[in-house]
Symmetry: C2
Subunit: 348 residues, 2 copies
């Protein structure tokens, strides 16, 4: 069995996967604040999840959280929302759990989780159609996961491995200045994150008291501020998709994070924006961007699932993952739905 811990800005999740990739347990709780509490909550949840899963040997533990995470040292820096400036996450968790722990940045872990979810879907579709599982998340495909949470960041997976770049900076495209005059938390002005993120939406549109939090629905009901905010949001996401295809060479982009809960209206808004742009540019038209992205339901615990796959990813950096390890385990992920009706894996 494998344990995956996702320490988020507000919520911590612990997931345990059976050897066949099916889910044995899932527990969530509000995250702690400050290094000691952050680690304490995660370790306690891990214990609860192991108790729920019953007896069984734990083969690996992976944990992810926001901030600058160094998998080689296990140290996390600048996880501001969790009150963490520097934390030896791997070391502290290892002390409490008594086993080695692999760590990664949460968006990068979620990218691995997204790869697993897609692979599972491909395998399920193939089983249903009684044909071999081909296509989908192939070994030479580059998958980009675009996280629309409070901020905007991406994780890129190639040949089953997360790409990191210097200091793990690969994917921090939210801090590319692409126009506009809105100051960004990073000190720059006009960053992509000031257009397309939860914080950007909150700045651009105030939901009416007692009303829904969907700017697309509000726009349809005549809310002009909501319409404008939704348009900027879609333009920003469209640009992020273009950045990912032209600079990381992503074949497919999976959008997740809190804003993915906006569902089909966000999906259609982004697609319309991409089609609109392509009408004016043969170059853009040739990229086929509207067909390259999709939204995953925001309640699939992508980061925790990815964290559960971490140890083989991180501890053996030069070992290319083969179809017989994590990827094949993920082909069992559809079983994740058993007893967990809140993950609509069958629908997406």
């Amino acid at each position: 069995m494998r344990l995956g811990l996702d320490i988020g800005g507000t919520k911590t999740a612990a997931v345990i996967l059976h050897d066949d990739g099916s889910m044995a347990a899932l527990r969530t709780a509000p995250s702690g604040y400050g290094g000691d509490q952050v680690v304490g909550v995660a370790a306690a949840l891990a214990g609860d999840a192991m108790a729920e899963a019953g007896l069984g040997r734990l083969d690996s533990i992976g944990a992810c959280m926001p901030g600058l995470v160094d998998p080689s040292t296990g140290v996390v820096r600048h996880a501001v929302n969790l009150g963490v400036e520097t934390l030896n996450l791997a070391g502290e968790l290892e002390e409490l759990l008594g086993s080695p722990v692999a760590v990664e940045n949460d968006v990068k872990a979620a990218a691995l989780g997204a790869l697993g979810a897609l692979t599972a879907r491909t395998a399920r579709t193939a089983r249903t159609a009684h044909r071999p599982a081909t296509g989908g998340s192939g070994r030479n495909e580059t998958l980009a996961y675009l996280n629309l949470g409070t901020g905007l960041a991406a994780g890129v997976v190639r040949n089953g491995r997360v790409l990191r770049g210097p200091d793990g900076m690969l994917g921090e495209i939210g801090h590319l200045p692409v126009g506009g005059d809105v100051p960004c938390v990073c000190g720059q002005v006009g960053c992509l994150e000031t257009l397309a993120s939860g914080s950007a939406l909150a700045r651009m549109w105030t939901p009416p008291p007692g009303g829904g939090r969907d700017p697309f629905a509000a726009a349809l009901a005549g809310d002009e501020q909501a319409r404008s905010a939704a348009a900027v949001l879609c333009r920003g996401v469209a640009l992020a998709i273009q950045v990912l295809v032209l600079s990381t060479g992503a074949d497919r982009i999976i959008i997740g994070g809190g804003l993915a809960a906006l569902g089909p209206s966000l999906l259609n808004g982004i697609r319309s924006e991409l089609k609109h742009r392509a009408e004016k540019s043969q170059f853009l038209e040739s990229l086929g961007l509207p067909g390259r992205f999709e939204l995953l339901p925001s309640d699939i615990p992508l980061a925790a699932l990815g964290a559960a796959a971490l140890s083989r990813q991180i501890k053996t950096p030069h070992e290319a993952l083969t179809g017989t390890s994590w990827l094949s385990e993920c082909q069992a992920v559809p079983h994740i739905t058993t007893g967990y009706p809140t993950f609509p894996m069958e629908e997406f």
Copy 2:
């Protein structure tokens, strides 16, 4: 021996490398226009270069040119400046030269050439210092080559291999709309290429009749239009460097192409811009961008050198290049200077 052909918008170059990577011959001529002439000039130059190099078995032939190049079919599309809409470059060259030909886009080939030049320099420095060649272009390093020619495009090399992305689009960052209202040739508005490229500079600044073509020198002499153009150019290049680090995870960026001839004043202008930006953003400061890039002399035939390395790159897409093949051959590239004093490899 290996033959590399670089079919540029104005000039075609043929280079022949000995088995140890040293240069046996180099010939250049104005490029042809239209498919037949383009191929004819390249094949004739190849013959001249082989005659110059003397007897010797040719182990491989690689060719590169602008446009959408598909290495798997050998076909080139949209090489507008060469009057080529569709051309079976590999097939036509193979017919004339009687040997298999591997093809690639010119900027991607130049990225391979830049990797070879850096590896050669590292090896030379190590030899001079009587120590093993470590660091430099290591196997796990990502190198981005940023070409500032008529347009702007990048080539990215990881573990000694060129990354391509869907339809070879990886690296076409010149067509990211990043602000401004200048229409781009691609149909979009405000693309990075409209800020930082030869065509952008020509649009922003008209050199005085009989004067030099260096906007930095003209700015120093009081030309206000030149000062403004140089500032926009440096801002655009700085942004391109930021895009490459944050989205491709490039550890190092090598700038080449026609504008690289501007030399130290361009280098210093870009560096100043990057430092200026970092003063306002801890995030940018942490990326250390001013130390991540350098200019290569514009007269090193990077694309032709990269083309000479192509066949092992392209024809065996799943074979990771080892230190015993192309990389180790490139360690001999310093010998390139023998008899070719116009390549200041010893100085850069």
